[in-house]
């Protein structure tokens, strides 16, 4: 009798435990699997938000990637000329690859005024971005007014008297406003800031620059 009661008690206990396990398992079944946003339950609303956030993040990721690519592609892949005026160095690059590097001379920073004091010049090499405008072999220099004033000579009225051959080296590359990349007779002064604003380069570097540069080639002077 006592054993029967005990058995009944054990049975009720096991039934309770069984129902407990069953209930627990039932309570777990409606929870959606991770990453399944369609299923409901208590986490439905936040999971919906997470999904939207995930999609927004993906879109933003693509946008950032495109922006990074756009920035990386800004720098030209073709020939570029860089002039570091503080180190008197000129570099020809093909994209990021250095093709040739040489010593140059840039503006002497001096000021010159004519005797009447009406006109003055500052011999600086401009900084910033420029493009090759034109290039010429065996250039002839057309002396500007300041050259005559510097030498103490009268300024000629006949333009042909301004022409001077064999002073700019074998080649000249114009980059606007009367400024040129050219050769020099004063090779011992290369590396010093002695020019009137043009960029003087040694013959070897100049030849390579002349061969690579085309009208439109970017020049950065800094």
């Amino acid at each position: 009798m006592a054993l029967g009661k005990l058995a009944r008690a054990i049975l009720s206990l096991s039934l309770c435990l069984g129902s407990c396990v069953l209930l627990q398992s039932c309570s777990k079944s409606p929870v959606p699997a991770q990453g399944d946003p369609q299923k409901g339950g208590a986490t439905a609303a936040p999971r919906g938000d997470v999904n939207a956030l995930r999609s927004q993040t993906r879109t933003l990721e693509n946008k950032v990637q495109k922006l990074e690519q756009a920035l990386a592609h800004q720098y030209p892949g073709g020939p570029v000329i860089l002039v570091d005026t503080s180190r008197s160095q000129i570099t020809l690059q093909l994209g990021m690859r250095i093709i040739v590097q040489g010593t140059c001379s840039t503006g002497n920073g001096m000021e010159l005024a004519d005797a009447a004091g009406k006109r003055s010049w500052t011999f600086d090499t401009p900084r910033g971005f420029f493009r090759v405008v034109s290039k010429v072999a065996n250039p002839v220099w057309l002396r500007p007014d300041w050259s005559f004033i510097e030498e103490g000579e009268p300024i000629p009225k006949d333009p042909s008297k301004r022409a001077m051959a064999n002073v700019l080296g074998d080649y000249a590359i114009a980059f606007g406003d009367g400024f040129f990349l050219h050769g020099t007779l004063y090779t011992r002064l290369l590396g010093a800031n002695v020019t009137h604003g043009c960029i003087r380069v040694d013959d070897n570097t100049l030849k390579k620059l002349y061969m690579a540069a085309q009208p439109g080639t970017p020049i950065w002077i800094y």
């Binding site: 309570s27 936040p46 993040t57 990386a72 800004q74 920073g109 001096m110 900084r127 910033g128």
Partner: protein, 247 residues
Amino acid sequence: MAMKRNPDCMRSHIRARAWIAALLSILAAMLALIVSCRSSQTQQAGRGLSEEQELRHKFAELSRREQVLTAELALARNQAPYLALDVVNRKLDLKVQGHSLRSFNIVKIQRKGGSPFLAQNWLEIEAKPLQITTRPRLVPGSGEATTASVATRDPWGPKRMPADYDLICKGAQALEIRSLASEQSYNRFTRWIISSYRQFRDWTREVFSRNKSVYKESIEIWLGEDDAQLLFWSLPKQFGILVLNAN
């Protein structure tokens, strides 16, 4: 004797025990159920939260990167050189189209006025030196050979540039470039004396200057003297400035 006397009492005692056991087991089961449900909910919520937090963090980082890249791209699309200043990371670069030409070490940086921002583009309109730079003058008729000889004796270069100057930008914004003694030029003690004097001079200039409230927003950047002069030397006439992390 006693057993024989109370068989009903004994039976009811056993029945009561069984019922108590059954009730206890039901209670235990319910308790277990509640606990398991709660822990399951917490786990789910925790998993969801950490994933959401991670996503939000990534989204915020990407948003920042997008703003920075958009601002830089606006300058880089133009071929002109620009300055990129990262206030928090103390980096100053002269760049063209996303490519750095020169980098400068910022020793000290301080922001005055304006509200915090992540990325902005300023436009420099005037470089205003606080010291006067005298250029060598050529005497008419002296000749090119004399010019070259003067130029090599007294060379023009970054060393002749001002070390303290304001880069005034559109909209009353400015970068105030100030110089400390260069590490290469002096020993530690002399450098400390010179740098302290310069900072004091700048402070007095700011306190007693009539123009102290000219800029709506400014960033004071302390560079080594050589760097400050080299920066002035390298600058084009007008240029953009990318200012990052101005918090």
